[in-house]
């Protein structure tokens, strides 16, 4: 589904990602772990299409297409979803209105019929119930005045409504207490399916107790320095990132 090859990315002339290779198949959950500043969030933003990142080398193929050539809204319509680490507040834009506009824009782009407000609300109510999200969230401005935990839950709620094919979760666990963490993990687990893939970016292995990954990758200084199964995350938890860092591949000559 997703094939990242030798991806190099710079911000303002400074190299952040220095040759990422990553292949994610449909149905898989990949965790990307790493210390602060290792480039985890950059990877998420680049996949979603944020401006300000310069791709200096490499490619990203998503379901046979060159993902990097697509506008962010086109990526969304193709099924790419980024759950933001810091979701922005948009006062004055009603959450329900926003979500319906987003869903219908995606559906239009895919040539699917738009949902009318009755169909849309039905879908929304189902997801609210499943995710234990409070109803009043719908009537507020997008993330407006939300607590950190509410913002994260709103991201997962949006993901549930939009039903993406590839969901990238950027430190969705940071700042969450254990109950909120469970709810978020629950939301992800309910969406897991053979057609859908997840890239879970996290600093701590705690989230991976609840979202059990198929593969774990350690990102350090812009490279994936180690990949393995779930046990890698546990090992990191015990030994810290320094352990993985020592096993870093040598600089290419």
């Amino acid at each position: 589904m997703l094939k990242i090859t030798n991806l190099h990315v710079s911000v303002a002339g400074k190299a952040i990602l220095k040759g990422i290779d990553l292949t994610v198949a449909a149905g898989e959950v990949h965790a990307i772990m790493g210390p602060n500043g290792s480039g985890k969030s950059t990877l998420g933003h680049v996949l979603a299409g944020r401006e300000g990142y310069e791709i200096t080398d490499g490619s990203v193929e998503y379901r046979g297409e060159d993902l990097l050539a697509l506008e962010p809204e086109v990526r969304a319509a193709r099924g790419v979803f980024l759950a933001f680490q810091y979701p922005v507040e948009i006062p004055g834009v009603n959450n329900t209105y926003f979500l319906r506009a987003a869903l219908n824009a995606q559906r239009r782009a895919r040539g699917e019929p738009e949902l009318d407000s009755v169909e849309f609300l039905k879908r929304v109510r189902e997801k609210l119930r499943v995710l234990h999200v409070a109803d009043d969230l719908l009537h507020r401005g997008v993330n407006e005045g939300f607590s950190g935990g509410e913002k994260k839950r709103n991201e997962i709620f949006q993901m549930a409504v939009l039903e993406p094919t590839l969901a990238i979760l950027d430190e969705t666990d940071s700042g969450l207490d254990i109950d909120a963490l469970r709810l978020v993990a629950d939301g992800v687990n309910k969406l897991r399916s053979a057609e859908r893939a997840f890239v879970v970016i996290t600093h701590y292995q705690r989230l991976l107790d609840y979202i059990v990954p198929d593969r774990v990758h350690v990102l350090a200084e812009g490279r994936i320095v180690k990949s393995g199964d779930r046990s890698l995350a546990l090992k990191l938890e015990e030994e810290g990132y320094a352990w993985a860092g020592e096993r870093r591949l040598p600089e290419p000559a």
Binding site: G49, P91, V93, A102
Partner: protein
Amino acid sequence: MDSVFLQSQAGGHDVGALPGPRDEGWRYTPLKALGARQLAVGDAAGATRAVELPGALGGFRAVLINGVWREDLSQLADLPAGVRVRWQASAAAAHGDVDALRRLNTLNAKHALVVEVDAGVVLTTPLELIAYAVCAQSPFAAWSRIEVRLGDGARAAILLRCAGEAFAGDVSHLALDLSVAPRAELALWMLDEAPAASTLFVEADASVAQAAALTVCALDSGAAVSRQALRVQLAGEGAKLSVAGAAIATLRQHSERQLSVRHRARDTTSELRWRAVAADRARAVLGGEIRIDVGADGSDAALSNKNLLLSPHAEIDTKPVLEIYADEVRASHGATVGQLDERQLFYLRSRGIALADARALLTYAFCAEMLDAIGDQAIRAAFDERLKARLPSGAEPAARP
């Protein structure tokens, strides 16, 4: 008086010169083209013109066509006892510091539409006052007066619409006089749907008495040149004023709003919030003035002005003024000019909303927040509809550095 316009309107009276760049409060207003226009005084046929008005938004409606009262088009049959709407000979305006245009209004508006709500009476459905411009044989300047008086403890919501036929290209000058007696509450919602080729002047003066409140919501959006002023005197202890509004200026529009409040009594409160969007080659102006008189201790005044500049060729002028002559007061003002937030745009796009739609949505939200005080759903929806219709299409943000 060398202005063709003044000669055509003043009928030999001396009303002074048109205000110009040297007059504070008019320095941004482009009146040169107006000064050269030869216009009829009012539209004599306005009283009988066939008109197709937009649907009524209030429970009651009073209609002025080209400045002339049209009882036949108004809907006032079931006004509750203690509420009167009349067309009557206007008393001379008693405002100091007037300009030539206001003198012309006093001279030419022989009648005023007078709305009175008696003491203690509550008007539960909004009253719509619509000043509607219709194309006439020859171009004209319409001079209108509206007076609204609320008695002690009365309550009412009034929707003031300035609208007109699509190609009406005339000049409208509306003087609005509001008097809010002790403990009364007046909500004034100003919906500007003026025709795109027209010139609109609104001069609103309000006096708010002890423990009374005036709440104003406005959307300025229509005319090629508009200058709408609201001057409020908080005359009695504990009087309150709240103003929230937005202006959208596109193409080559000049959209100007003057807000001024004078705190004349103790413990008076004013909150002025204004937002403007300027796109294309348009210009949006806000003059905001807060004055707190000697003895008006305990006053609390706040003025905030936020602006969106959506094109490198558009212009925003914002001029806040604070004059404070009392010691125990709180007063603040702030003004910002910016562009659409890149992070918000990306967030919307990452959810599938196309760039142009994301821009429109953020611009809409920026303005719509100012309209939340409108308590009537149908009227709020009409403001929303107007706002959406006026969003700049495909406006590019100013070039990034």
